[in-house]
Amino acid sequence: MSPSARWSLLAVPAALLLGFIYLWPSLGLFRTAFNETSATGAMIEALSLKVWRELMADSFTYELTLNSLWLSVTATVIALCIAYPISLFLFRTESRFRGLLAVMAIMPMLVSGVVRIFGWLTILGDQGMVNSAARWLGLISTPMHLLFNWTGVTIGLAESILPYMILALLAGFGRLDRALEEASRSLGAPPWRTFLRVTLPLSLPAIVLAAGLGFVLSMSAYITPKLLGGGRVFVLATEIFEHATTNANWPMASAMALYTLALMLGFLALANVLSRRLAQ
């Protein structure tokens, strides 16, 4: 056996696990999407495109798609604006607390999503920290509605994808070399010009990669839109769950899940191509 073949044996346990918990159910999903649902709600074994036709004919599907896209894009952009400076700082700092700071930045990943949402409820609620502070400062007289609407979901989602984006940015900053920025300065570019002409272009691949990840995570997020949306925010992920549980329409849930998956894969592939082109 060649050395590289021997090394690849190390991937076998992971491959088996993934095959079992991911590939197998996905295939099941794929199969279910071509079943039919009877009038009573029972699933009928079939090989038809009936649910697909229903899905594609329903204008609500497109509304959900636009909702999901809009939410994902805004959450990603907001998270990116926050994650970029943090990552740049973490990437560069020579502080001995660098490790600690990095752990702090990605700490939210270690907390359950549900717990984090309850955190947001106390911060964004009508009597929450934001409204109390704004009222105390005399900025507002009636509370701002920051919960159970798009605002709340966007804020919560942006926060939940933040640590992932910081990690992706840090991993993508490979070509960012301090000497390049120093070269730019020595050639006469003031700091802001250096940022625009050197730092930003060289971190574009990282930005695209992180944005792709943030986007996919936002598209598939369920807990945040569900809990912070208060039943008023409809996106693909919540609707899939709705179909699978409340409506017990598994073929429809499967078809919608596959549709979402295809959408995300498409965007991810696009981000990948873009990132690779920018890296050249």
Binding site: L180, S184, R185, L187, P191, R197
Partner: protein
């Protein structure tokens, strides 16, 4: 007043002194090497000059103007980085044009100056290549063109040749030197390679532990080293611990060293360069004023055009370097090692 003046520059980090006190004057058009071992503060000094590091104290003057507090982008220094630091997302032409664009030079003049600069380093044909498509030597030349095209007041080179192979380094050394001379550009360059320093500059500043130990022409520094450190860092040297006789004369391996006096207090070492030593037969008469040691040949080491002969005697070993091709005494042969009295260097022994 010299064109470039560094006065009492110092920089310390939390627990270490990088530069203790550097004072240096460089004339316009002169090329000066900062030579020293790693960690001696030479790169820190260069970076302070470029404005990339803020000194704790001291002043920097260029052409009579104090630029100590001027930010890097307003200093007009051409800095060539050890890693070249070419912008990977720009082609050669854009890299070279960068500094001119930042200075708001008009498009047609810019184009002309970039072309001239690329011409000087013989890279016109590669103007549209990306840096990663170039060899190390070509990248080095782009970095040089990029630094020179802005017509800097001082050219700063940071170990710029250390990433090249030996042969290319030799070519680039001459190329940079010729360019520096023809443009008459004031140049300061940092190196740990004494050959590079000797070959590329008008004067050398030898640095050690954050200070300049000696400034002088290459010949000065080599022939008349001011300190023990300079003597042993620039060129190779035999260090011979010496005893003192009653009248203050020095004794090495039991033999008096004519013309050499010990220091008033403390122990003394005699330094002699291997190239300045000669081997003669033990029977050959030696003038009384010629220093000589008796010893036995341990081995001959052939290093191309030179042969190093290790001679051992009662007080240790010395290395004698001679041109290869002549008859050499075999291992085990008794020999005399002689040198001219003026080649004897004397330094107090280092407290260790």
């Amino acid at each position: 007043m010299a064109y470039l003046e560094l006065g009492g520059l110092a920089k310390r980090y939390r627990d270490a002194v990088a530069v203790a006190d550097v004072t240096l004057a460089v004339e316009k058009g002169e090329s000066v090497a900062l030579l020293g071992p790693s960690g001696c503060g030479k790169t820190t000094t260069l970076r302070m000059l470029a404005g990339l590091i803020v000194p704790d104290s001291g002043r920097i003057n260029v052409n009579g103007a104090d630029i100590t507090d001027v930010p890097a982008h307003k200093r007009n220094m051409g800095y060539v980085f050890q890693s070249y630091a070419l912008f990977p997302h720009m082609n050669v032409e854009k890299n070279v044009a960068f500094g001119l664009e930042e200075r708001g030079v008009a498009a047609n003049e810019r184009k002309e100056r970039v072309a001239t600069a690329l011409d000087k380093v013989r890279l016109n044909e590669l103007a549209h290549r990306r840096p990663r498509e170039l060899s190390g030597g070509q990248q080095q030349r782009v970095a040089l063109a990029r630094a020179l095209v802005i017509r800097p007041s001082v050219l700063l080179l940071d170990e710029s040749l250390s990433n090249l192979d030996a042969k290319l380094r030799q070519t680039m050394r001459r190329e940079i030197r010729d360019l520096q001379r023809s443009l008459a550009i004031t140049t300061l360059f940092v190196t740990h390679d004494q050959v590079e320093a000797l070959a590329m500059c008008d004067r050398i500043a030898v640095m050690n532990r954050g200070r300049i130990e000696q400034v002088g022409t290459p010949a000065d520094v080599y022939e008349r080293p001011a300190t023990r450190f300079v003597a042993s860092f620039v060129g190779s040297v035999n260090v011979l611990p010496a005893d003192r006789d009653a009248s203050g004369g020095l004794i090495v391996w039991g033999a008096p060293i004519p013309g050499a006096k010990s220091f008033a207090s403390g122990d003394t070492d005699v330094f002699v360069r291997p190239q300045r030593m000669r081997l003669v037969a033990p029977s050959e008469p030696v003038a009384p004023e010629t220093p000589h040691l008796k010893g036995k040949v341990e081995q001959n080491i052939f290093i191309g055009d030179q042969v190093e002969t290790i001679v051992s005697g009662p007080g240790g070993q010395v290395t004698v370097q001679s041109l290869s091709g002549g008859a050499m005494p075999c291992a085990g042969a008794e020999v005399k090692v002689v040198w001219k009295p003026e080649d004897t260097l004397v330094f107090p022994r280092e407290a260790s």
